[in-house]
Amino acid sequence: MKNTGNFFLIFSKKGETMLLSLFLTFLKIGLFTFGGGYAMIAQIKETVVQNKKWMTDQELLEVIAIAESTPGPIAINLATYVGYKKRGILGSALATIGVVIPSLIIIFIISLFLDEFMTNKYVAYAFTGIKCAVAFLILKAGAEMFKQMKKNAVSILIFSAVFIAMILFDVFSVSFSSVIFILIGGVIGIILCGISKTESKNNKEDKN
């Protein structure tokens, strides 16, 4: 009995946010977010904050902060978070599936034809150009992040070490997993955070 009750909640017009509405909203977001990342935040803001009123601007900023500091694409993080806040685990699963399905279908279809498509001379020419744009976009994103990075001796040192090591590894064809860099960086960050805490404690005691 209880299960059928839950089932009808999907279509209930009263009550909380409808599961179907969560699914369809994130399906639409997944379908129309090109380029990912920040381009998508504007659209999520319009749909989730302004139209659906599922969260306030302040809440959205908080979720973006969480999404940025946790692994995974921001679109997925946002869908999971909003879905959970509105309708629990089922809601988060439906919102996440909704945001993923459009790319899953589109890319699956592309994967069936891309190889044949690439043998065309003009398509190959187009991709020579596209590769330049991809390199440019990657460098632009990196440069923008570098500008925003809090710069101190440690962060500059970590950045330079990783940057130089990666280029040297490539020049001398050494294979190395970047996961190790990420973990080392994280551990250095935690240790320094601990040191600065004890230092500030010591300073306080000195003053006393």
Binding site: L31, T70, P73, M166, S177, I182, G186
Partner: protein
């Protein structure tokens, strides 16, 4: 068991890809090259496709590689693998750790990870740029002039639009412009050689 490998490798990518769309490119590249799922050239061609189709790059890449290696089931398994870590982590944060972003250890971890990610992104960009321009293997450089011309035009168009017309060109537009430039310049080069 290709499905299990696809799932585990993309789970790892999902777990360690910090830093948005471009932060995950180095890690995905490493993985697909390690298993010979794609060549380096195919990989960056597909990044170009990702930039002009909807959805996060990591999800698109998982679906694409999964489909090539294991058909429709492969694409679903790989996509599930790449999505699951963020799904689980966000659920934990939303339900258990409400003030994670205030946590000192977590903050410390992130301050250390951030410069690593930026270093990874910029080095990946520089290496790709050098290879596109004609760098092939250690200390060999045969400059590809048509690429140089395309790149100069592209950067010129971008900054002209940004500074003079005061309009930023979106990533999708930039990809379309670059495809046009590629066809024009390479066709002209072929014509000139003949």
């Amino acid at each position: 068991m290709i499905y299990l490998i696809l799932f585990l490798e993309f789970f790892k990518i999902g777990l360690f890809c910090f830093g948005g769309a471009f932060g995950m490119i180095p890690l995905i590249e490493e993985t697909v090259l390690k298993y010979d799922w794609l060549t380096e050239s195919e990989f960056y061609d597909f990044i170009g496709v990702c930039e002009s189709t909807p959805g996060p790059i990591a999800v698109n890449m998982a679906t694409y590689v999964g489909s090539l290696q294991g058909g429709i089931l492969g694409s679903i398994v790989a996509t599930l693998g790449v999505v699951l870590p963020s799904f689980i982590i966000i659920l934990l944060i939303a339900s258990l750790f409400k003030n994670l972003t205030e946590n000192r250890i977590f903050k410390g971890f992130m301050t250390g990870v951030q410069p690593v990610i930026i270093g990874l992104i910029l080095s990946t960009g520089i290496i790709l740029l050098a290879k596109t321009l004609g760098y092939s293997e250690t200390f060999k450089f045969n400059i590809d002039y048509s690429v140089l011309i395309i790149l100069t035009l592209l950067v010129g168009i971008y900054f002209f639009s940004k500074k003079i017309i005061r309009k930023k060109i979106s990533a999708v537009c930039l990809i379309l412009i670059s495809a046009g430039l590629g066809i024009a310049v390479c066709s002209f080069e072929e014509f000139a050689i003949m």
